[in-house]
């Protein structure tokens, strides 16, 4: 946090893990609580610089939208792509039940 030391609690780590879809073990949560606290404290040094009138840079190049002619061309071979998937059915990726959906 600007002007102070960042503190990361166990529940912060659990919250962020849920956002990041990581099913961390208890030991991992414990370890990451300490490690992330130390790293964030270090990274928070950026707050020492005065950036009041400084715009952010998201990218080193002045990006413009790139268009190409709308010519049809072959994509990747479907069978070749599906052959690398963990589970498929009828030419599609197969996944477990989506939460909350009545099937």
């Amino acid at each position: 946090m600007p002007g102070g030391r960042a503190r990361i609690s166990r529940s912060d780590v659990e919250h962020v893990a849920a956002l990041a879809r990581l099913a961390l073990t208890d030991e991992e949560v414990e370890q990451l609580t300490g490690e992330l606290g130390a790293i964030v404290d270090y990274a928070a040094e950026v707050s020492a610089l005065d950036t009041a009138d400084v715009p952010p840079t998201a990218h080193p190049l002045p990006l413009v939208n790139v268009f190409r002619p709308d010519d049809p061309r072959p994509g990747l071979d479907r069978d070749e792509v599906l052959a690398e998937a963990p589970a498929t059915e009828d030419g599609q990726f197969r996944v477990p039940r989506i939460l909350g959906e009545a099937l």
Binding site: V16, E35, I39, E45, E84
Partner: protein, 473 residues
């Protein structure tokens, strides 16, 4: 053997590419078990590719400027039909249905891929110890790391397993292993080399570049891989600068600055600092003027980098969800399956970075961390811009230290991150940089000197690098 020399004799029909590749495969047989530079050696594929090169020569065709040159490919570059793992369990066994543009280009130029090289998982690390398949060892001193994350490619070139290698550099991942392994490493200007088929870590920083035994081979390699690619929307839509024609132009009249924030950074080993001074003297001797220069915000480069790169990584790595490729650990519903797959498939450093990046982007912290880091990035670009008003190229150490022992920094993530302190600032600016071997320290370990140049300043960078190489003790 240099890539240039191999291509010359193979193109002239004086030597078979098949004989060249056997020589390199023999070197792999001899030391790979000890060094573990590769995740996957492509012995049969290389023999077949070399036969194709020889057949072209026999027909009177020119196989290209890399004819018969054995090349090591970092295992985050997609190779059609060949396992591409990023040294991660989450992609173990995956065979991409397409190849990276750089792979297509080096093969079209006649190069012969000899293997996919080990890396820190998803290129996150500075020692190659974060590989799910075990560390790579430094050929110069096998109880030391080769640097990272392109440690496998650096080790492969240093050990003579390949004539040249390709790596990727997000915050130093080509330059730092080049320095620690005693080879040349180039991070090109952002956008000069297509990223199509490079498995993304931090998309606003990632660049592919060569690791080679000489500056002149690096120039040859960069000429082959650089140039616009419609498959990468961030690829610069202009012709790439010619490099070899400028290589021996010397440095007479050039203005070179030693960056104080890099040269005087905490933890720079005295031998390394002395090498930078000595390289500067060599440039002066050849007619350059050298002065010290301050790039004040560069001192905040590492902090900004460790917010920006993990933030981008947390977004890029969201695609590993157990649905379309790679590992799946099943669960009663898709969300649980996603979360179990990711916990089982990612190693500790990758999880750390995903967590850090997700935190830096999360509600309530975004502006203080990610937003502030982006504004610091602007300041770094401005400060480098000011320096380049007075200097043609800049100088500093590549790595604060020479190769460290395996295990020395694995228990403390921050100490590992500090390996990147000299390479990260220019990455944030998107500028090119080279690491050139320059002597050894008291333990006989290689030292790398870093040459920095403004965006698309590769010609000047190579001229300076060549003079430093020629003066190296």
């Amino acid at each position: 053997m240099s890539a240039h020399d191999i291509a010359t004799v193979v193109r002239a029909g004086e030597r078979l590419a098949q004989d060249v590749i056997e020589e390199y495969l023999a070197a792999v047989d001899e030391r790979e078990a000890q060094l573990h530079a590769f995740n996957h050696v492509l012995a049969n594929e290389a023999r077949e590719a070399a036969a194709v090169v020889d057949a072209a020569v026999a027909r009177g065709d020119d196989p290209g400027p890399l004819a018969g040159v054995p090349i090591a490919l970092k295992d985050n570059l997609c190779t059609r039909g060949v396992p591409t793992t990023c040294s991660s369990k989450i992609l173990e066994g995956w065979r991409p249905p397409y190849s990276a543009t750089v792979v297509e280009r080096v093969v079209a130029a006649g190069a012969v891929p000899i293997g996919k090289t080990n890396l820190d998982e998803f290129a996150m690390g500075s020692s190659t110890e974060n590989s799910a398949f075990g560390p790579t060892r430094n050929p110069r001193c096998p109880d030391r790391v080769p640097g990272g994350s392109s440690g496998g490619s650096a080790a492969a070139v240093a050990a003579g397993f390949a004539s040249v290698g390709l790596g990727s550099d997000t915050g130093g991942s080509i330059r730092q292993p080049a320095a620690l392994s005693g080879v040349v490493g180039i991070k090109p200007t952002y956008g000069l080399v297509s990223r199509y088929g490079l498995i993304a870590f931090a998309s606003s920083l990632d660049q592919i570049g060569p690791l080679t035994g000489s500056v002149s081979d690096a120039a040859l390699m960069l000429e082959v891989i650089a140039g616009h690619d419609p498959l990468d929307s961030t690829s610069i839509p202009e012709p790439a600068p010619g490099l070899r024609e400028m290589l021996h132009a010397g440095v007479d009249g050039l203005r070179v600055g030693i960056v104080e924030e890099l040269a005087d950074a905490d933890g720079v080993q005295p031998d390394v600092a002395a090498a930078v001074e000595q390289a500067a003297l060599a440039l002066e001797k050849e007619g350059a003027t050298v002065e010290r220069v301050s790039v004040p915000s560069a001192a905040y480069g590492l902090s900004a980098y460790y917010l920006i790169a993990p933030a981008e990584a947390s977004s890029n790595l969201a695609r590993y969800d157990g649905v379309r490729y790679g590992l799946r650990v099943d669960g009663p519903d898709t969300a649980t399956m996603n979360a179990r797959t990711r916990d089982a498939g990612f190693g500790p450093e990758v999880k750390r970075r995903i967590m850090l990046g997700t935190y830096a982007l999360s509600a309530g912290y975004y502006d203080a961390y990610y937003g502030q880091a982006q504004r610091v990035r602007t300041l770094i670009i401005r400060d480098f811009g000011r320096a380049y008003e007075h200097f043609d190229a800049l100088l500093g150490p590549t790595s604060p230290t020479t190769a460290f022992e395996l295990g020395a920094r694995t228990d403390d993530p921050l100490s590992m991150y500090l390996s990147d302190v000299c390479t990260v600032p220019t990455s944030l600016a998107g500028h090119p940089a080279a690491s050139v071997p320059f002597g050894v320290d008291g333990d006989d370990l290689p030292i790398g000197v870093q040459v920095l140049a403004p965006a698309l300043g590769e010609q000047v960078m190579f001229r300076v690098a060549r003079v430093i190489e020629a003066a190296a003790p």
